[in-house]
Amino acid sequence: MISVHHYLLLSAILFCIGIFGVLTRKNAIVIFMCIEVMLNSVNLTFIALSRHVGNMDGQIFVFFVMTVAAAEAAVGLALIIAFFKNKESVDVDDFNMLKW
């Protein structure tokens, strides 16, 4: 029997992979994808727990998260493209102008 714990564990693993990716990779698009993984791991948690406690709120929330993720993807990709036009690179180490 697959219990809610398994879902949560999977979700945690996915989240950690996402974090790991965000922290270690340099390619902005990869980082972006890792963030998506993190978001989706959270979605998984929402749905699993929603089913577990028999409350629909979590599932509704997931829709919002997905909407936001879509919007974020649009804006984020646009930003990356704009940046690429400027710097000919998508390496986040080149994204360092926001400082003193």
Binding site: L23, I31, V92, D93, N96, L98
Partner: protein
């Protein structure tokens, strides 16, 4: 009845405003000067009218309120005038002598730049002085008090191009302000003390009526009168605040005559007379005044012995004579003090105007010969009696008067003061001794002045000496009138012992009688003593004159020998006992140093240092922390994750 009293100060004020505003457009000097003189003369006429009205009136004190000045709660101050015998005498002196000096100025100031300005200031002075003597309360008096200070400032600094004139003007005002500080403090203490007993007033009449609420000889009345006396010291150039008066001679000579001899400097004496009841209640203050007065009379006379500038000799003589007046006030001889004030106004004004006439003549001669010698230095004079006969005679008469030779005005007033200082219940023989010594010195240096100026051979530069003219009529008429007054002015106060009725004394009795009576102030002694003292004072005067004659006529080389023999003493006296230097060292320089320290040390270093320091520290911390903003996404992400882990860890395990 006396409702036209306000016209007396009003006329000069009007003159001052009109001359000040439109004088510049008026080309004719005669119009400007004549107008100013005429207005003071109008005041004189009104003053005379009121004086004679008062003479025939049984009620001797009249107060006229024009309108309310300040009214805040219990504090009510009016623009009010007080006419009583004391102020009646004063307005006569001020407007009378004032008119003559205005007239004199028309000729003397001829051709000076800013002629209209001069007369505007002079009229303003007359206004202020009349406010001073007519004010019915201490604040109106204070308006005049400061007003004369202002005019003195303006007129001393009249020659605006001269650095020394500006310095002298400033010094005069500042030293006067030190006195004013005392005056104000005294006023406040008096107001508050009387007020706490239920009488909130600045009015002289009410103060006098309620003076009994204060404890006789008590701390309050002593402090109050000492404060007032400090004010009087500033205005009347007494020790320790006398240093401004000799410097004030930087002003034009008519100014010296009017302000620094006849009127303004006597304001302190007048003020003590006005508040005589308070002073009578404070014997220790009276003693202080007497000592300071006698010391000033003596001390200033010593400086007068060695000066070579004709006006400076007269200035120290004025300080010395003012000392006499204070001596009189201090020993309770109030009416004698006022009497001397009046006679002094006559003969000293005449002396100053005479010296002005001499300076005017010499200036003219030097100008003619294109020389730049100092026309005030007596060493360049001599033998002028033939060139300027009228000036000489009036000058000589006044000199005799000031020396205290019998039958001249100064004799009566000075002698009464000396008699009181010996015989008064508040007197002492030491005071008399100082006074008598000062009298001897006065006779000496005044005759020294006369001999050096008018007698002997003419020491004026050869190119100029034939061009010294007698002054014009506008100058000599005032001289003659004042000279006449210097002779006869004393006869209104001939003491009983010489067979006189002492009208002056009786006239002032309504003002002074009460305090003399209440506090048992009187001069007592036998007629023999009085005659003896009189003889002594005449004798010392004659000796003084004789010594001057020996030194400056008979053996003109004697003074030089004295100077070499007593070089040290002469140097000290010649340099005015180094009082100015002492004050610079004690007060002026420390004040400047403290000011600079407060500014550069405290304000800039401490206060701004703290403020800028806070700003600096903030900036320092910021510039240290800014390196955490690396701009690298990874750093931020790591920091975020670490933060999240820590928070979660804290809640899970904490």
């Amino acid at each position: 009845m006396y409702s036209n009293l306000w016209l007396i100060p009003f006329f000069p004020l009007l003159g001052s405003i009109i001359n000040g505003l439109v004088g510049k457009r008026i080309k004719s000097e005669k119009v400007i000067g004549g107008f100013a003189t005429l207005l003071v003369f109008f005041s004189f006429l009104v003053a005379c009218q009121n004086f004679f009205r008062l003479l025939g009136d049984n009620v001797k004190t009249h107060e006229i309120v024009i309108f309310s000045w300040m009214s805040v709660g219990k504090l009510q101050v009016d623009w009010g005038f007080l006419l009583d015998p004391l102020s009646a005498v004063m307005i006569l002196v001020v407007t009378g002598v004032g008119t003559l000096i205005h007239l004199y100025s028309i000729g003397y100031m001829h051709g000076e730049e800013g002629y209209y300005r001069f007369f505007s200031y002079m009229n303003l002075f007359a206004f202020a002085m009349l406010m001073l003597v007519l004010g019915s309360n201490a604040l109106v008096m204070f308006i005049g008090w400061e007003g004369v200070g202002l005019c003195s400032y303006l007129l001393i600094g009249y020659y605006i191009e001269k650095q020394s004139a500006g310095d002298a003007a400033k010094k005069a005002f500042v030293v006067n302000r030190i006195g004013d500080f005392g005056f104000l403090c005294g006023l406040f203490v008096l107001y508050w003390t009387l007020g706490s007993k239920g009488v909130w007033t600045f009015n002289f009449v009410e103060i006098a009526e309620n003076a009994h609420l204060l404890e006789t000889g008590g701390l309050v009345v002593t402090v109050v009168t000492l404060c007032f006396f400090l004010g009087a010291c500033g205005k009347s150039a007494q020790i320790p605040l006398f240093t401004w008066l000799p410097d004030a001679m930087e002003g034009p000579t008519p100014v010296s005559a009017l302000i620094h001899a006849a009127t303004m400097v006597t304001a302190g004496v007048y003020m003590i007379g006005r508040m005589n009841i308070l002073f009578a209640m404070a014997p220790s203050t009276m003693l202080t005044i007497a000592i300071v007065g006698a010391a000033t009379a003596f001390f200033a006379a010593t400086i007068g012995l060695a000066q070579n500038d004709i006006k400076r000799v007269l200035a120290y003589s004025t300080v010395s004579q003012l000392g006499y007046m204070f001596l009189a006030m201090g020993v309770g001889a109030f009416s004698a003090g006022i009497f001397h004030l009046m006679t002094h106004a006559f003969f000293k004004a005449c002396l100053f105007l005479g010296s002005g006439s001499v300076i005017h003549g010499l200036h003219h001669a030097y100008h003619h010969a294109h020389l730049h010698d100092d026309p005030q230095d007596m060493r360049n004079m001599g033998g002028l009696r033939k060139k300027m006969p009228i000036t000489f005679i009036t000058f000589l008469v006044s000199t005799i008067a000031i020396s205290g030779i019998p039958l001249f005005s100064g004799f009566f007033s000075k002698d009464e003061i000396l008699w009181w200082s010996f015989g008064s219940t508040r007197g002492h023989w030491l005071l008399w001794l100082l006074g008598a010594l000062a009298a001897a010195m006065t006779a000496f240096y005044m005759f020294r002045l006369v001999f050096m100026t008018f007698f002997g051979e003419q020491k004026t530069d050869a190119r100029a000496k034939d061009h010294i003219p007698e002054s014009p009529l506008t100058i000599t008429i005032p001289l003659m009138v004042l000279g006449l007054l210097a002779v006869i002015g004393g006869y209104i106060g001939v003491p009983a012992i010489l067979g006189g009725a002492n009208h002056f004394h009786h006239f002032l009795d309504p003002v002074f009688g009460k305090s003399l009576h209440l506090f048992h102030i009187e001069a007592h002694g036998t007629h023999a003593t009085e005659y003896t003292l009189m003889a002594v004072s005449v004798a010392v005067a004659v000796i003084g004159i004789f010594v001057a004659w020996v030194m400056y006529i008979k053996n003109p080389e004697l003074p030089a020998k004295f100077v070499t023999k007593f070089a040290g003493a002469h140097k000290i006296v010649f340099n005015k006992w180094y009082i100015d230097e002492l004050y610079d060292f004690l007060f002026v320089n420390p004040c400047k140093k403290i000011g600079t320290f407060f500014w550069r040390g405290f304000d800039v270093k401490v206060v701004d240092g703290i403020v800028n320091g806070v700003a600096w520290v903030t900036r320092g911390i910021g510039s240290g922390l800014k390196y955490t903003q690396s701009g690298y996404l990874h750093n931020y992400a790591v920091a975020m994750v670490v933060g999240v882990v820590m928070i979660v860890g804290f809640y899970v395990f904490g």
